[in-house]
């Protein structure tokens, strides 16, 4: 199924190698999070994400998918456990070293989270803010190499004509393309995507997923995507992780995901066609 959607250039690697490889880009060890004491949202998650390919996390609302993703770049503070990016434990980092770690992790958001009143090109250059000093940022004096890369990425996501358009004048699909380009401006080691297609129509969703998978495969960036559209996950992900009640209840290649697993993940069965 993933074959059919391999749209742009280099194809995601086969589902067969989805099992944790020796050179894992990201490793979660016993990751825990509870917002309220005694009510854990994540219960000791152990995961290993390989250096390439697209991994989808599926599961019912409120089961901790977003929390899991946000614990990786510490937008949410984990309550326990470790997050290892290329072997470095991110949970121990503070201040500047945390910012340096965040630079290596791109993120795409459900509601795009573009800075609405800035132009598209300014939004892209936001991706370089971890590398640019405050004075340069305030004066909008970005290094020429960053500006060139921004225009290249704008071409790559098909928005070359919109560089000077303000973000709030774009459609949802266009916004998410900008969101992806902004994340890739960081030249990240890892891309996180939190429900990137949930605010989009089905056709645009497929286009955005194709774009994201294609661009990241070209650049050798592993992607972790939260989704609640199981079909979309099957179509684009090599590996699927099913979560329920703050635990991983399924972890395997997309082809191995059966209705039995879905019942286990989402509960009930009346909703299965």
């Amino acid at each position: 199924m993933s074959e059919a959607a391999a749209g742009t250039g280099a194809k995601a690697r086969s589902a067969g190698s989805a099992a944790p490889a020796a050179a894992a880009a990201l490793e979660l060890r016993g990751l825990q999070k509870s917002y309220v004491r005694g009510k854990p949202v994540l219960r000791a998650i152990d995961l290993s994400i390989a250096g390439t390919g697209l991994t989808a996390i599926i599961g019912p609302s409120g089961t901790g998918k977003s929390t899991l993703i946000r614990c990786v770049n510490r937008l949410v503070e984990p309550s326990g456990g470790q997050v290892l990016l290329d072997g470095e434990d991110l949970t121990a980092l503070r201040g500047r070293s945390l910012r340096l770690a965040r630079r290596r992790i791109g993120m795409v958001f459900q509601e795009y989270n573009l800075v609405e009143r800035l132009t598209v090109i300014e939004n892209l250059l936001c991706g370089r803010l971890g590398h640019v000093g405050a004075l340069r940022a305030w004066l909008r004096r970005f290094p020429p190499a960053d500006i060139d890369r921004a225009f290249e990425l704008l071409d790559a996501v098909g928005l070359a004509d919109f560089a000077k358009t303000r973000a709030d004048a774009l459609s949802g699909g266009q916004r998410q393309r900008v969101g992806i380009a902004r994340a890739l401006m960081q030249q990240p080691r890892l891309l996180l995507a939190d429900e990137p297609t949930s605010s989009l129509d089905p056709k645009t969703s497929v286009e955005v997923m194709e774009l994201m998978r294609g661009l990241c495969a070209q650049r050798g960036i592993p992607v972790i995507v939260n989704m609640h559209d199981v079909e979309l996950a099957r179509r684009f992900a090599a590996r699927i992780i099913g979560m329920s009640g703050g635990r991983v209840v399924f972890d395997g290649p997309a082809t191995a995901l059966t209705d039995e697993h879905l019942k286990q993940i989402y509960g009930g069965e009346g909703w299965l066609a």
Partner: protein
């Protein structure tokens, strides 16, 4: 299940009209009643009668009669006073705006920890406590008669207004946009520059131009207590019963205030509206 939803009716179906969509709020009703009672009581203290109103009309007529035609013979003094008033307004606005930017940021509760935003908010509250004329009196005592006292008084007033509204505008921003900028590894100052300022810049300019208008009006008044500007000649003319001179000064003030409003509208159009016209985001 049905029983639980029926709300009293044993038949399983609730009696029409027996369920309430809105609970009566007795505390709110009591508050409204108290407010109305106080307004009636306060009005009863005014000793307002028809006879008084009629006498007042006659006096007003005589007053207006003596105001016209306006006497522009002392136009040089008027012009000098107006020039000084404008200087007070412009310098106070510049100073107030420059101070308001950092103070407003420090006072925003969603960006700053409590130990920072509390002192900042205390400064703003202090700036707002007294009317500009009272502050002007204090500054006249402190730095002597003249425009400096007026400028300082209006700087205080500007900080009280702009910084307060600016802090509130920052507290209303979308944190999603800020989160996205933080996620790129941006430093705090860069998050401010790209995640926060773009969201509030247009409103900051709006508050600033509004306060400039306000400063122009107030700068004509601080002179009454000796803090410089057109207020002093106006007050003197009043006390000498030179109502035709008063009228001339008032006309001059109206003209200046009008011109400044036009100017600030232009400023808003150039910096503010251009940023604001895309307020309704298109959703696709």
């Amino acid at each position: 299940m049905n029983e639980a939803l029926a709300g009293g009716g044993s038949s399983g179906k609730p009696v029409p009209g027996s369920r309430r969509a809105f609970e009566p709020d007795w505390l709110a009703r009591l508050g409204w009643l108290a407010a109305i009672l106080y307004v009636v009581y306060a009005a009863s203290l005014l000793d307002f009668t028809w006879a008084r109103f009629v006498t007042g009309l006659e006096q007003a007529a005589r007053f207006f009669d003596r105001m016209f035609p306006p006497d522009f013979s002392r136009w040089e003094a008027v012009l000098k006073g107006l020039k000084e008033s404008l200087e007070i307004a412009v310098l106070a606005s510049v100073g107030g705006i420059l101070l308001s930017l950092p103070i407003g940021f420090l006072a925003a509760r969603n960006l700053m920890p409590a130990w920072v935003n509390w002192p900042a908010r205390a400064v703003i509250a202090l700036c707002r406590t007294f009317h500009p004329v009272i502050v002007a009196i204090i500054f006249v005592k402190a730095v002597g008669f003249g425009a400096l006292a007026g400028i300082l008084a209006l700087v205080i007033a500007s900080v009280g207004f702009i910084a307060k509204l600016f802090a509130e505008a920052i507290e209303e921003i979308s944190l999603k946009q800020v989160e996205a900028v933080r996620a790129t590894g941006a430093s705090f100052m860069n998050v401010i520059a790209f995640g926060v300022l773009p969201q509030v810049a247009a409103r900051f300019i709006g508050f600033s131009t509004y306060q400039f208008d306000s400063n122009v009006r107030n700068s004509t008044m601080v002179g009454i207590v000796g803090a410089g500007g057109i207020g002093a000649p106006l007050f003197v003319a009043f006390q000498r019963f030179d109502y035709d001179v008063v009228c001339a000064i008032l006309i001059a003030i109206v003209a200046v205030v009008f011109l400044c409003e036009i100017l600030s509208n232009q400023v808003k159009r150039v910096f503010g509206e251009a940023v604001q016209d895309g307020r309704e985001p298109r959703r696709g």
